[in-house]
Symmetry: C2
Subunit: 411 residues, 2 copies
C-alpha cells in the first residue's frame, strides 16, 4: 500500500520556506545560526507543533520530532536533511529534504495511517559548513564523529563563536547530542547537485553511496616587495606558487578517474596590493572520488606540486588538513526500499553515487541509510540559479515518503 503526498500543499510549503532568508536573486541567504536560521527553525517548529508533535532540540541545535508507531519495540525510521543554506544558495538544497518528510507526516496524520515503526523527522544543524566549518556538523557531532566542545568553539569570519550563536538564537537544547535510541533506518532526500539524472533523463536517483573527499589548505610564504624595482630573479612571489597549484588541481582529476573532481575554491593573498609582490597566499584544495585510494593519491600529487612550486619560487610553505571523509556505501535494505518505491510509483530511476557529502554519510555509522536524489537542472547548486522543477521535486518527495512508509510498515 503506497502513500501520496499532497502536491499542491507540498509546493506551497516549499515556497513558504523559501520566503525566509530569500535573496533578491531568487535564492536563499540562510547561514547556520543566523537570524534567518532562527526564523526558519521557528517556522519549522510551528509546522510540527501544528501536527501535535513535540519538538526536541538537542544541545547542538539538531531538531527532532517523532510520530509514534504501533509497535513499542520497533525502532524509528529517521528522515530529514537541513534548513541552512550557502551565502547565496538555492531554495531546494537541504530544504527539499526537510519539507518532504514534513509532508509525509502531514499526510499520515490527515489520512489516519498507522505505522509499526515510529517515524522521526530531523533538521540537522549547519550542514553547509559555510559560516562555520566543517560541513555536516550537527549530524557529525550527533553521530560521535566530532567532539562537541571543539565544535562549540568554532568561529565564523567575524570571530563569533558557534556555541554563543546557538545560545543567541535559542537553539541550544537540553538533550544530549547523540542517538537517544536505536534507529531502524535513515533516509534523506536531496537535490543531486550534479548533471547525471538530467543527462540520463531520469525522474529520480536511487543513491547507493557517497564519494570520499579530502579538503586541505596550503599557505605559501614569500616576501613582500615593490613590484617595480625588484628584478624577477629577486622575487619570492607567493601568488605565483599558488597559481601553479591551482592549475595543477584543475589537471590532476583528469589523470586519475572519470568521476574524480578537484577544486580550489578559496584564495587569500596578502597584502593584496597592485603594487606589491604577494607575501603570503593561502589556497584551499578539495578532491572527491568514489575511490578513497584515488582521493589519497590526488592529495599526494597536489602536495608534491606545492613542494615543487615553493622550491621554484624560493618560498616556505605549509599545509593542513581541513576535512577528510571516506567514501561510503549505503545499506541494501534502504537502497532497495527507495528503488521499490520509485518503481511502484512509476518513476524512471537510476542508481547513482553522490558527488557531494550529506548528513547521511554520518548516519551510516548509526543505522542503515540511503538517499533519494532529485534532478538538478544543469547540475547547478550552491548558487541562486539552482533549479529543480516542481514535477521533479514532487517525484523525489513521493519516492522518499513511500520508502520511509515502506520501511516503517515493514512492507
Amino acid at each position: 500500500m503506497s502513500i501520496e503526498i499532497d502536491r499542491e500543499r507540498f509546493i506551497e510549503t516549499m515556497k513558504e520556506q523559501a520566503d525566509i532568508g530569500a535573496t533578491d536573486g531568487g535564492g536563499l541567504h540562510r547561514l547556520a545560526l543566523s537570524d534567518e536560521d532562527k526564523a526558519i527553525r521557528d517556522w519549522f517548529r510551528d509546522q510540527l507543533e501544528a501536527l501535535g508533535l513535540e519538538v526536541r532540540v538537542d544541545a547542538f541545535g539538531n531538531m527532532f520530532a517523532r510520530r509514534e508507531g504501533t509497535d513499542p519495540d520497533a525502532d524509528p525510521i529517521l528522515i530529514g536533511s537541513h534548513l541552512d543554506s550557502q551565502p547565496y544558495g538555492g531554495i531546494y538544497d537541504g530544504a527539499l529534504g526537510v519539507i518532504a518528510p514534513l509532508e509525509l507526516l502531514r499526510t499520515l496524520e490527515e489520512e489516519g495511517r498507522v505505522t509499526e515503526h515510529p517515524i522521526e523527522i530531523v533538521n540537522w544543524t549547519n550542514e553547509e559548513g559555510s559560516r562555520f566549518q566543517p560541513a555536516m556538523q550537527g549530524s557529525g557531532v550527533w553521530a560521535g564523529v566530532h567532539d562537541i566542545d571543539a565544535e562549540y568553539d568554532r568561529t565564523d569570519e567575524n570571530g563569533e563563536r558557534l556555541g554563543d550563536e546557538l545560545e543567541r538564537i535559542g537553539y541550544r537544547g537540553d538533550i544530549p547530542v547523540e542517538p537517544q535510541n536505536d534507529y531502524e533506518a535513515y533516509l534523506e532526500l536531496h537535490i543531486e547537485q550534479g548533471p547525471y539524472l538530467e543527462l540520463e533523463e531520469k525522474d529520480v536517483g536511487v543513491v547507493t553511496g557517497v564519494v570520499g573527499f579530502y579538503w586541505g589548505a596550503i599557505t605559501f610564504y614569500g616576501e613582500a616587495d615593490h613590484s617595480g624595482p625588484t628584478p624577477m630573479h629577486y622575487r619570492n612571489d607567493a601568488l605565483v606558487a599558488a597559481a601553479d597549484v591551482i592549475t595543477q588541481v584543475r589537471r590532476i582529476p583528469g589523470t586519475l578517474g572519470d568521476r574524480t573532481v578537484g577544486t580550489v575554491g578559496y584564495v587569500d593573498a596578502q597584502p593584496n596590493s597592485i603594487n606589491i609582490i604577494p607575501e603570503e597566499v593561502t589556497i584551499t584544495f578539495g578532491f572527491r572520488d568514489p575511490s578513497d585510494e584515488i582521493v589519497a593519491e590526488a592529495k599526494e600529487r597536489v602536495l608534491a606540486e606545492a613542494q615543487t612550486a615553493a622550491q621554484r619560487e624560493g618560498l616556505d610553505w605549509e599545509w593542513e588538513q581541513r576535512h577528510q571523509s571516506d567514501s561510503v556505501e549505503f545499506a541494501d535494505t534502504c537502497i532497495d526500499a527507495v528503488q521499490a518505491s520509485a518503481d511502484d510509483l512509476g518513476y524512471d530511476s537510476m542508481r547513482i553515487f553522490s558527488g557531494a557529502g550529506h548528513d547521511a554519510v554520518h548516519l551510516t555509522d548509526i543505522c542503515d541509510t540511503s538517499m533519494v536524489f532529485a534532478v538538478s537542472e544543469d547540475g547547478k547548486s550552491h548558487n541562486e540559479d539552482e533549479y529543480t522543477s516542481w514535477d521533479d521535486c514532487y517525484s523525489a518527495a513521493n519516492t522518499i515518503a513511500n520508502a520511509a512508509y515502506r520501511l516503517a510498515t515493514d512492507e
Copy 2:
C-alpha cells in the same frame, strides 16, 4: 663650495619622523590623509616654521615652503618627496626625500648661506597610491596630469572620499594646485627599492630616468557551483583562468627584456568558499621596462593569455586599464649636478634607471629633473624590512643637498 648637512641631527630627525605612525614591526603605517598623515604633516609644518619659513598648502594638500634667494629673477629649485607610506611600509621610502631637504634648509640657515635661486621644499600628497589610487597623485594633479575634481572623488576601500578626508585632516589649502611660478629644477632623493646599488657596492645612485609601466585588471566570469558533484568538464572556473594568467605574468618578462618585470599583486575571488567553484575572479597585472615598446608588448601578451585562458575554461572576461606611464629620461643639467656632487663628496656612484615611479616623473613636465638613489639593502621596500644604513642615508642626503645647492648657486 660644497655644503655638509649635520649627520647626527639628520639621523635624529629621520628617527623622529619614524615615530609617527610607527608599527610594531619597525615600519610605518602612515596612509595618505589618515590621522597618521595629519600628524606627520603637522610635525613637518612645525619644523619648517621653526626655520622661520611660511608653509603653503595647496588645495590638494601638497605642502611647500620657500627659502628666498638673492636674485629676484631666478626661478626656484624644488626639492622633496612624500611623507605618506604603504600600509606596512618602511621608514625610508619617501621620508628620506623630505628630511634631506629639511636638513639642507636647516644647514643653509645655520651657516647663513645665501643662494641666487630660491630653494623650495615639497611634501607631495599620496605618493603611495595605497589607500587611494592612483599613486603619485598630488604631484600628478599639480603637474596637470590629473583632473582635480576626479581625484577628489576617489574613494578608499571603506568608501571614504579623498576630498572629504583632505578636509577632515585640515589639509585642503587655498592655493591652486598648479605651479605658482616657473621652476629652475626639481630634485628628489629616494631609496632605490631595488638591489642594483648594493650589488655593485655603490654609495649612491645618479638616476637618469624612470621605467614606463602599465597597470591593468582582468576579471573572469564563470559559474558558481558545488565543488563535489559538478564534473570537471561541466565547470567554468574563473580562478583557474586567473591562475593561468598569473603564471604567464611570471613568465612574460623573461621573454622580453633584462629589466622587464611583471606582477600580479591583487586577486579577489567570489564567492571564495572551499566548497564552491569560483564564479568571478579579478586580478591586477603590472609590467615595467625602460622601453615603452616592451611594456606595450607585455600588455598585449597578457591579454592574449587571458583570452586563451577564458576560452579554455568557457568564461566571459573583461579588462581595464588602471594606470599607464611612459618611461621618462631626466634632464642632463640635473643629472650632471647630481653626478658632480657625488664625485665632489667622494662617493662611489653609478648611473641607474628607476624601476619604480616617483613624483619626479610628473615634474619632468614642469622643469628639468633628476633624482638621487640611496642603497636599499637586498632591494627591499614596501614592507617593514626595508632598510638603508645611516651611512647610506647620509651619503644620499648629502649628495642631493649639494646638487640642489649647486643648482641654486649656479655653480
